[in-house]
Subunit: 99 residues, 2 copies
DNA sequence: CCAACCCATAGCATCGATGCTATGAGGTGG
DNA sequence: CCACCTCATAGCATCGATGCTATGGGTTGG
């Protein structure tokens, strides 16, 4: 557990850069998606290598993504969703209603 | 209308490239998001230039995005969502239930 | 002790999205 | 005819995500 980044670590990193305010939310989304993929993967009892193979990427790429160290692209998210038997859903939701 | 790309044009373009099957869905999502932003923008009675200013980008970037000529990144989607008073929602949905 | 996994991370090349400027075609109103 | 706006697109520089290989530390099981 101690070697896993948490959200505060990430926020600290990204917010040191200028113009980071705009990407703040994207960074948060990336972090949450990484968490979710990790949970889904563990739910399948898969190692990062197994997921990587299923999603057409390498173990290092999976690790980097799960750790939230980059903001993933839609193609990557799509491939991960497929591998995990999910559907990638991206939309502009109303600002008011529930999460 | 005649100068606007439709989905079949885009699909034709992208599918000519090798390895495009994986990015197919991402391309479709990009196309739909472009459409949606265009509708939202027109709902606000904004020109591409006005939206661009509100989202911290240029008119050409908005045009490129609305036309679905690139697969947008999460930071860009986030900025557009903010400008259009929406919340960007990205998630791994169950494969079975409704859209 | 060692082999075989797990995961995190570094370093690098490549690819593609973005930012930007500039242009052109089209419409509109003077 | 012209000024002004709309949007589409080209060309280029830059930045960052991804793909890849290679480590290294940790754990487990022999």
């Amino acid at each position: 557990m101690s070697d896993r980044l948490d959200w505060n670590d990430l926020r600290e990193r990204r917010m040191t850069e200028p113009g980071a305010a705009e990407t703040y939310e994207a960074t948060r989304i990336a972090f949450e998606l990484g968490q979710e993929v990790r949970h889904l993967r563990e739910g399948h009892d898969w190692s990062q290598s197994q997921l990587a193979r299923a999603a057409g990427m390498t173990q290092s790429a999976v690790a980097r993504f799960e750790a939230g160290r980059t903001v993933p692209t839609l193609p990557v998210l799509e491939r991960l969703a497929r591998a995990l038997d999910r559907r990638l859903d991206v939309r502009f939701a109303s600002n008011v209603d529930a999460a």
